[in-house]
Symmetry: C2
Subunit: 637 residues, 2 copies
């Protein structure tokens, strides 16, 4: 699969864009005309710069309002095309994109357009150039690739071909079966873009909301499969108009783009009929069987505070690393590691971010295979020195530069607890709170990183996303995106903050980056858990009584139940599958907190309750931005 991206897809001046595109691993680049026009160098300079980066110019675009023009416009349009042909030859590219005419003076008629293209084909042939025709979804007369193809067919010229763009076809819900009958040699290039499904004006949608394949909701895999079935094996090129990408990091967006194409190729390859596509083989996305552990990097003072909280949550120390200052606190299947080493990555992470849950271990079938896939998709591998005889767990870098360890049972890796750790007996025996598993890991990221991590998780692991929802913080909207697997053994929520006054934004600002802001543990009996927590001296987050009056009325709850919920500060929700109970801790550090949930069939994450939970949590963040947990806890004693 030959990969390409249009310069318009990323931010920066032309040289900066090309460097980012080359670094991300693309084979080619579409030169978007405005990027070239704004550059203070000749077309030959640009061509040289592209080739110096090891890239090929896959396309020069766009040429607008060509076909079906009446005179005198027609003559001028052909003259204009000749001028662009001059530039293409100097740039060193043979392909130009003509998008369907939107001019009010243009005339319709398939044959008129075909005749124009035939004549242009003659002119292009003289120079050894090729012209690709693309149906814009909002073209004046031509807005369907089937009509564009008919024009190309009738133009009947070797130098005239079709350009397919997933956005233009899929935004209009055009049947992709119609692609399968197009001869592969007449498809000159394929452009790809995804987009979230929001019903709006096509041009507005296209200009502002496009994103990378896999980041949106369009059936780009099916579209690409249909193309692969024609035998087409040329460039697949990203053409993404997105306000966020235009203002983002060129390097990061280009890397996302390359990852999205490679993932797409892999998915198409795994389809039934994708005979045409050359795609490098890699292991399939791994099903994640659970969260092996979450590791905190803290100093001794933080550790004491954290251990105190974990103790009220019913965790006991069950193991100690043989050579490092790492303790394991356990309850049910949940393992939390507390790392107070003064050296190594955990310590470095602590120095930058302060106390944080910096590492997560995911249990997979075959860790080596998962590593192979992750690195094939450009994930950064992570390793640090381990003691002699200790287990070297494969790992990659994740959100906020944190670590994702890959654990399996196939090899020695599953034996980490036996090899690296010593079992210990906890003297202080606070009762268990019946917590069983990690229900979900909530990561807070800068809003502009959300798509990056969405793509990261869904490309590497067998997971899917659910629709993004808006969470109302008193200081602004926070976007929330779920990534989960069908078994419910991996659930991640990504919360994207646009301003630093929201709870999420505060966390990012104060911890100097994205990361895990809360962990949700599951219980089978929220009330038994609440009782145990109370006995342990845990102080739950106080929820306004007004909330409970509303919940009782809204869901028609038995007043006895709603009284119990209120007494225990338990939030309630319900969906078509069942009931949901949520109990929160106060905040620790710069806004980190714990959640306990009971799912009685419920599949969501209590989004409707978030506004109340956030309002309550924010009361604990003091105006000067310092943690208020100490205060809260001393009050409870």
């Amino acid at each position: 699969m030959k990969t390409s991206i249009a310069t318009v897809s990323i931010s920066g001046e032309l040289p900066e864009k090309l460097a980012a595109i080359a670094k991300a691993g693309f084979d080619g680049v579409e030169i978007f005309e405005n990027d070239f026009l704004a550059f203070d160098g000749s077309p030959a300079d640009v061509g040289r710069m592209v080739r110096d980066h090891g890239l090929e110019i896959t396309l020069f675009q766009p040429f607008r309002d060509f076909e079906g023009m009446p005179e005198p416009h027609r003559t001028r349009t052909f003259d204009r095309a000749e001028r662009k042909f001059d530039i293409m030859q100097q740039l060193g590219t043979d392909l130009v994109l003509i998008c369907s005419n939107v001019s009010p003076v243009s005339l319709g008629g398939i044959d008129r357009a075909a005749a124009d293209f035939h004549e242009l084909g003659e002119r292009a042939a003289k120079r050894g150039l090729r012209v690709g025709y693309e149906a814009l979804a909002w073209g004046r007369h031509i807005f369907d690739h089937r009509d564009a193809w008919e024009i190309v067919r009738r133009a009947d010229h070797a130098n005239i071909g079709l350009i397919l763009d997933s956005f233009h076809t899929l935004s209009r819900k055009i049947d992709i079966n119609s692609i399968r009958s197009i001869p592969k040699e007449k498809i000159f290039i394929v452009q790809l873009a995804d987009a979230p499904l929001i019903d709006m004006d096509l041009l507005y949608w296209s200009r502002h909301f496009r994103n990378m394949p896999g980041e949106g909701d369009l059936p780009v895999v099916a579209f690409t499969s249909a193309i692969a079935e024609t035998g087409y094996d040329g460039y697949f090129s990203l053409e993404i108009f997105n306000d966020q990408f235009r203002g983002g990091s060129a390097k990061a967006i280009a890397a996302d783009g390359h990852r999205s194409l490679i993932t797409l190729g892999d998915r198409v390859r795994r389809g039934p009929n994708a005979t045409g596509l050359t795609v490098a083989a890699m292991p399939d996305r791994a099903p994640v069987k659970g969260v092996g552990f979450v590791e905190f990097s803290v100093d001794e003072t933080d550790a004491a505070e954290l251990v105190a909280i974990l103790s009220t949550l019913g965790f006991h120390k069950t193991a100690q690393h043989r050579t490092k200052q790492v303790s394991v606190y356990q309850q049910g299947e949940i393992r939390l590691l507390i790392n107070t080493e003064r050296a190594g990555f955990a310590n470095a992470s602590y120095a930058v971010h302060g106390p944080s849950a910096y590492a997560t271990a995911l249990v997979v079938e075959d860790a080596a295979e998962s590593m192979a896939r992750a690195t094939a998709l450009g994930a950064e591998s992570f390793s640090q020195p381990v003691g002699s005889g200790e287990v070297d767990i494969p790992a990659i870098r994740g959100v906020g530069g944190g670590v994702i360890y890959l654990l399996d049972k196939k090899s020695d890796l599953g034996r980490i607890w036996d090899i690296d750790f010593l079992t210990v007996q906890d003297d202080e025996k606070s009762p268990s709170a019946h917590l069983r598993t990690i229900d979900h890991i909530a990561q807070t990221v800068a809003y502009e990183e959300m798509l990056t991590w969405l793509l990261f998780y869904t490309a590497i692991f067998q997971t899917q996303k659910t629709p993004m929802v808006d969470i109302i913080d008193p200081a602004g909207v926070v976007r929330s995106q779920v990534i989960e697997n069908a078994a419910g053994t991996l659930r991640i929520t990504l919360n994207g903050a646009e301003n630093r006054r929201t709870l999420a934004g505060h966390f990012i600002a104060e911890t100097f980056g994205s990361g895990i802001q809360h962990l949700a543990f599951s219980t089978d009996d929220i009330f038994a858990t609440a009782a145990a927590l109370k006995q342990n001296g845990f102080r739950p987050l106080h929820i306004s009584p007004n909330y409970y009056d509303d919940v009782e009325a809204r869901f028609g709850l038995d007043p006895e139940l709603s009284e119990r919920l209120k007494a225990e500060n338990i939030l309630y929700d319900r969906d078509e599958y069942g009931e949901f109970f949520q109990l929160y801790s106060g905040t620790y550090g710069e806004g980190f907190f714990f959640e306990i949930v009971e799912r009685r069939g419920y599949r969501g994450y209590g989004a409707a309750n978030a506004i109340f939970r956030i309002a309550a949590l924010k009361k604990q963040i003091r105006p000067d931005g310092m943690p208020a947990l100490a205060k809260t806890r001393s009050r409870s004693q």
Copy 2:
């Protein structure tokens, strides 16, 4: 006109919201239920807090999914309503909003809904409460205020009335004449919102894009006039869902809201038939006859640099303030004041923002009347001590805290030049560059301030806005909004930057706030001006030769013309009215620059050229964020 706003319209916790709403001058407030539920205080506490602010609770809202429910839902829904009635009585409000049912289990039928409302009316009456019914634009069965009104009519109960919302009616383009036949006593409250005209899913549009009346494109004045014609004189209440407002300053958004309502009332009052509305009289919006002067606050070093540039632009010193360090540089009708005072507001502005064009004088028919209108609309008046016998020009605070003086010829104010200034002879005679007027003033503002200043200018002065356009900066999208009058004597462009790496964002970051980033002067002969500038040693902004090849091809220009444009670095554009020529200076200070334009009938601002101009200007901003003008100029010498 009684003014109200829903708590959901602004950011913050409930107490913060109420304080901002009271301070902005509203008479009442709608309590949005979630704001109440998240608040940790009783309904009575909330009611007291509202009244302590001198506000009235105009509405409790929303109550969802009421009418047309089958059993057992129906009974539960009525129970739920009784629970909300309890809260209303404790809050101290008599009106609740029921929005049309969206539940999939709800049943249609006007009579069924009317019967439900009649029964609810009976229950409400027992408590002295009233229920208003509103048709959501996306209601399941009812999505048109005409149908909602028919239900209310058939419910035939004194305690059941209609709630009209401009967004729900206007988003569906429902004929507003249908409002005129509704008896005023059956309209329980009117909600107002505007929105930009973008064709999209109604719910998505409503949830994210609403804005204050006058900030969008909906015919809210006509809608409100139709209501006023019924004789309705109750509350007009803003209900605005807008992501930007939710993340913005509660105080600023509330102030905008109040200004928008007062402006709307004034516009309705000036309509032909608005007999019902009680609106305080104020002078009409003033037509601006021109820009009297623009004043720079600088220190002596900056002044020398600025004078050097102005000299190359063909300006001469023509006057000197009698008592202050203020010089006047003039050309054609353009007056630029250079203020190097070590005291007073200009000096204070310099201390905060560095060298800047901090004040503008607008020429109006009657400055006192314009002041009266501006202050009635909440503009902050500005004054500072003047010398004995000197003219005290009325003024208000504008963008970035800068000053807008109001000059007229009616009173002494027009005589400022005769009274406060002494005419001087400039010794150094660089030839005039034939500059005539200030064509436009370009102000750069933080993106979230754009609507504030749009509303400010259009509410106070006789101006109108043109559609917002996207300007592509290599580092991101910049939104550009024009405010202008029909005569072309006042033209302002507002450029809103979302990130600090754009040219606009850099300007805001480095000058610590919004302000004038460039001034565009007009000429009648761009080539004569270019020749004069060259003679004066002016160095124009260098534009890439690639641009000229494209312009020649795109517009079919005579190659001789395009060669001339290229030689002089003049940008070219054309619209249906005529041609446009633009010539730019390099940057001064933190990104300030000058533009010279010739309009041959053209009405736009060269938006299509902005990408090339920005790319060229950004080359002058050094990576460390320091001004590069000195470097550029020394190179030219």
